[in-house]
Every structure is written in structure tokens, then in C-alpha cells.
Amino acid sequence: MSSLAVRKAQPAAGTTPGTAQGPPPRHRIAWVPTVTLLLGAVYCLLPVAWVVIAATKSGSELFSTFTFLPGTGFADNVSDLSAYRDGVYWQWMGNSALYAGLGALLSTAVSAVSGYALATYRFRGRETMFNVLLAGVLMPPVILAVPQYLLLAEADLTDSYLSVLLPQILSPYGVYLSRIYAAAAVPADVVEAGRMDGAGEWRIFTRIALPMMVPGLVTVFLFQFVAVWNNFLLPYIMLSDDEKFPITLGLYTLLEQGANTPALYTLVITGAFLAVLPLVVLFLVVQRFWSLDLLSGAVKS
């Protein structure tokens, strides 16, 4: 996997823009790339900036004032949203946190143990198993979700928390990433030394290999957390009781009701703003000590 190795950060990708020697002379700035990237950033931030501002507007301000002028109704909007159907909105948020948090934790555990086994051991059927698992990525979610629904209905498990949690534990991409990280982070002689000391295979994995894989596993966790938090199709098919809805499905039903009632627009907009907030904060916090590059399977050699 040496082709995936990331060379040491170049000045161009600097995480510490010219601070030590003071600002560099103006002519040393590459304007074309800088401006292009800024335009890209504006494009990507525009809808987020819009929802942040729109969420502060009262119902009448939304239609009467200029879009990017902050309003005065944020507190009212939040309390209206909290009062909507006895606070079902916060129930959705809690559900999403549960589905994504617990789901990602279980998924990371399964990915870690599978990726470790695929990377460290040589055994019959290893590549076949790996390829079959990876083929799971290619399956359209709906070809899985419809029969998953029918099968879970046989087991009387539809419209339950489990019906959304269980199908999302196995993540082919998580197994793939874990295998790369395990191959790069766990040296074979360390595993061998563990065996010399008489440690069992499971003990070697939990005590020696697992701590070495942690930085990669953080990535698997984040990836799966985002995937579950953002999933819409599976809960859309599985759930009918809105007390169990995740936030994506809740907001969708809110929009469905609100589309013809402009009075509900402010609720939908405030709801969208509050739904975006946790993941944005999560990424801003995490990126301080975690590199985005890990998401594409990059490992330092």
C-alpha cells in the first residue's frame, strides 16, 4: 500500500500559513489558485450562510426583507420548533444521535476486527471474502432496502429502532479502510513477538493491534457516523412511527406538510439549520487533530 503513502506536508498544503517569518511579500502569492479556491469556498458556504441567516427571521421577515439581512426571530423560531407536536423535533435529533452514534460504534468494531484479520493473516478464501464484501458497495441501496424490509417484516422487526440500526452495521467501505490501516499500522513482527510471549490471537488483537489502529478507526467511525446520520432511504422504508424517525426523515415530513403552508417555512428552515449544526461542529472540532486525507485511505509510511 506504499502508493497510498502521503509525503510530508508540502509548503503548498501548509497547515501553518507563513507565520514564523512574517507575511511573505505580496508577489509571492499565487493569485489564480487562491481566488479559484475562494470562489469554490463561497459556492460551498452559500446555502449554509443562507440557512444560518434565514433561521433568524420571523415568518413575515422571511418574505419581506433582503435574504442576507439577519432577522429578529431566532429565539421564537426555536421555541416554535420545540413546541411543534410536543417537541418531536428534539426526539428526531436524539434518534439520529442514537442511530449514528451506536451504529457507527458497532460498525467500527466489526470493521476493525475484519480489517485486522484480512490484513494480518494468510488464509484460504481471504481475497474472495474481501472482494465479496466490497461488492456490497455496488448494491443500490433500494435493491437491499426493499427485501430487507420484507424480511424484517417476517421477523416482526419493522418500524423499530433495530430495523434502522442492524442493516447499517456492516460497512464494506469501513472494512476496506480498516484493512489498509491495519496493514500500514500493525507490523508483522509485533504480532509475532506477541505470539512468542504466549499471548492468544484475540489478546494480541485487543491489547497490541487495536491501540495501533486507533487513528484509522477514528476515520472509520466518522465516515460511518456521517453515513448513518445522512441516511434517508432506509428509515424512509422501515419506519412509520414518527417518534422513531431520524432527523433527515423528520425534516422531510415537515417539509412535505410545510410546502403548501408558507407559515411552516420558518419551522423547516430553523429545523434544517439546527440539523446541520452538529455535524459541522463535529468536523470543525475533529479536523484539528485529524486529517481529511485519511478518509480516502491515505496512510503515512
Binding site: F123, V146, Q148, Y252, D293
Partner: protein
């Protein structure tokens, strides 16, 4: 020790069997079945599941709703995939260029949409497309320019494509950028000494060297595009132009749960899965063959 790897892989294998293999097998099985109704279909035993052969498949292939949906998604994909990957490549090259300012900030900002659920992204853009609340219409209005309906006809494709491009560019940019950074610096040194411009270095050295990651992002973008569901479903309440069968997956959902015909839905889902496999692997093979030819030259 011999059995250890199998033990370690047991949870994944069980989950795979239960939630991937079994549902796929069941869907394929259902696609060859149908319900036979006796008389008025009342009373127990009046509705019986029977073997249907290829009937569901021939029905699906001649179903105009499914074909129209497939054509819509092909048109949509022809916009989304090149634009998104083109943007991702350009931005990755810009990030990788020398003396660029604010790279960490812009990199994070462009990646941000990845963290936003497709439903919420569609909802945000949906509001930005609505004349009553959109800043675009405000500006057009102030300037006295015509105001197109973004949620109808041709513009609807662009409106939907824009949501996908917005959501996917950042992730692909990171994948390409990671592979750009793995090119050893020495590779450029000779070119720089020979007086090559940054543009020449980008075109002649960087892009060919990141070709494998471009192939990978292309591959996953095709799959994601063929499976589009969330964005059009979310825009549906805002416009009458998005039907319940706008994309093939929406048609499958509609047949399975709206019309209650799980057999037709299973056949359609199987066709979509096969089409996805053929298209994506066909693309991979073509890309591999080109790579080999270039290597041989």
C-alpha cells in the same frame, strides 16, 4: 491460530449473509414470482403466489415510466459526473499548487457539504430556488432581468445536478488531492529546472499521475448518480415537475410501497443492479485497458 481469522471475520460474514446476501437472493426470487388472484380475490386462499417466469422482467423493460426515469437519470448523470469531477480536479490542483493562500480554510469549506445530509442539502437549495425567499430572484428582480422557473423543465435538471455537484465535489477533491500529495517532489524538480510552467506541470505530470484516483472517483460517481433518490424526493413537495417515478429508484419505491407490487419492484431493482454492475465494471475495464496501452507506449 489456523481458525483465528475465520473467527475474527465471523461477525462480518454473518451480517453480510443476513443483510446483503439474503435480501439480494430474496429480491431475485421475488422477481420471478407474481400473485395469482382467484375470483374477486376475497377470502383466504384467493390470493396465491405463483411462478411468473420472466414476465416481471418483460413488463419492466417495456414499462415507459421506468425507461423515462432511466433516460432522465442518464441526462442528469451526463451533467453531474463531468462537472463535479472536473471541479474536484481543478480545485485539487489549485490546492496542490505552490504559494497558494488560505488553503486550509478553503479546503475545509469546500469539504463541508459532505457533512450535510442529501435531504437537508436538497431542502436548502430547494428554498434557494423558490422565488419568494431566494436571493437569486431578489438580485434578478432588482436588475429587472427575466426570472426563469428553476423547478421546471430543463432548468430542473440543472437545479438537481447543482445539488449533487455541491454535495459531492469536496469529497472527490480530497481523494484527488491526497493522491496528488503522494507524488514525490523530485518528479517536478526536473520539469521546473527545464522551465515548465505550473499549467504544463499540471497537464503533463500531475493529471496523468493521479489517473488511478480519477478512475476511482469516476467509478463511484457513476454508481451514486444511477442511484439518485433523496434529492428529487425532497424537492417533490416543492414542485409538481418531479413525479413519484422521476428516477428509477423512485419508481421501484413507488411500485413496492405505493402500488404494493413487490414482484414488479423486485424485477426492476434487479435490472437496475445489473445495469449498475455492467456500466461501472465496463468503465473500469475500459480505463484499465487504456492504462495498459499507455504503459506499453
Amino acid at each position: 491460530m489456523k481458525s483465528a481469522p475465520y473467527g475474527f471475520l465471523l461477525p462480518a460474514a454473518l451480517l453480510f449473509l443476513l443483510f446483503f446476501a439474503l435480501p439480494i437472493g430474496y429480491a431475485v426470487w421475488l422477481s420471478f414470482r407474481k400473485v395469482h388472484v382467484l375470483g374477486l380475490g376475497l377470502g383466504s386462499g384467493a390470493r396465491k403466489e405463483v411462478w411468473a417466469g420472466l414476465e416481471n422482467y418483460t413488463d419492466a423493460l417495456s414499462d415507459s415510466e421506468l425507461l423515462d426515469g432511466a433516460l432522465r437519470v442518464l441526462g442528469y448523470g451526463c451533467v453531474v459526473v463531468p462537472v463535479m469531477l472536473g471541479l474536484a480536479l481543478v480545485l485539487a490542483l489549485m490546492l496542490d499548487s505552490d504559494k497558494v493562500r488560505l488553503a486550509p480554510f478553503t479546503r475545509l469549506a469546500i469539504f463541508l457539504p459532505y457533512a450535510i445530509p442529501g435531504v437537508v442539502a436538497a431542502l436548502l437549495w430547494g428554498f434557494l430556488y423558490l422565488p419568494d425567499v431566494s436571493p437569486f430572484y431578489y438580485v434578478l428582480d432588482e436588475l429587472g432581468l427575466p426570472q426563469p422557473d428553476l423547478l421546471d423543465g430543463g432548468p430542473l435538471y440543472l437545479a438537481l445536478s447543482n445539488i449533487a455537484v455541491w454535495g459531492g465535489t469536496g469529497f472527490n477533491m480530497i481523494v484527488i488531492y491526497t493522491s496528488l500529495r503522494s507524488i514525490p517532489a523530485e518528479v517536478y524538480e526536473a520539469a521546473k529546472l527545464d522551465g515548465a510552467t505550473p499549467l504544463q506541470i499540471a497537464l503533463r505530470i500531475k493529471i496523468p499521475m493521479v489517473a488511478p484516483s480519477l478512475v476511482l472517483t469516476f467509478f463511484f460517481s457513476i454508481i451514486a448518480t444511477l442511484q439518485v433518490f433523496n434529492e428529487p424526493t425532497t424537492l417533490k413537495p416543492l414542485t409538481n415537475s418531479v413525479s413519484t417515478t422521476w428516477s428509477p429508484l423512485m419508481k421501484v419505491y413507488q411500485d413496492a410501497f405505493g402500488n404494493g407490487d413487490i414482484y414488479a419492484a423486485a424485477a426492476q431493482a434487479t435490472i437496475i443492479a445489473l445495469a449498475t454492475l455492467v456500466l461501472s465494471f465496463g468503465f473500469l475495464r475500459a480505463a484499465n485497458r487504456r492504462n495498459k496501452q499507455e504503459a506499453a507506449r
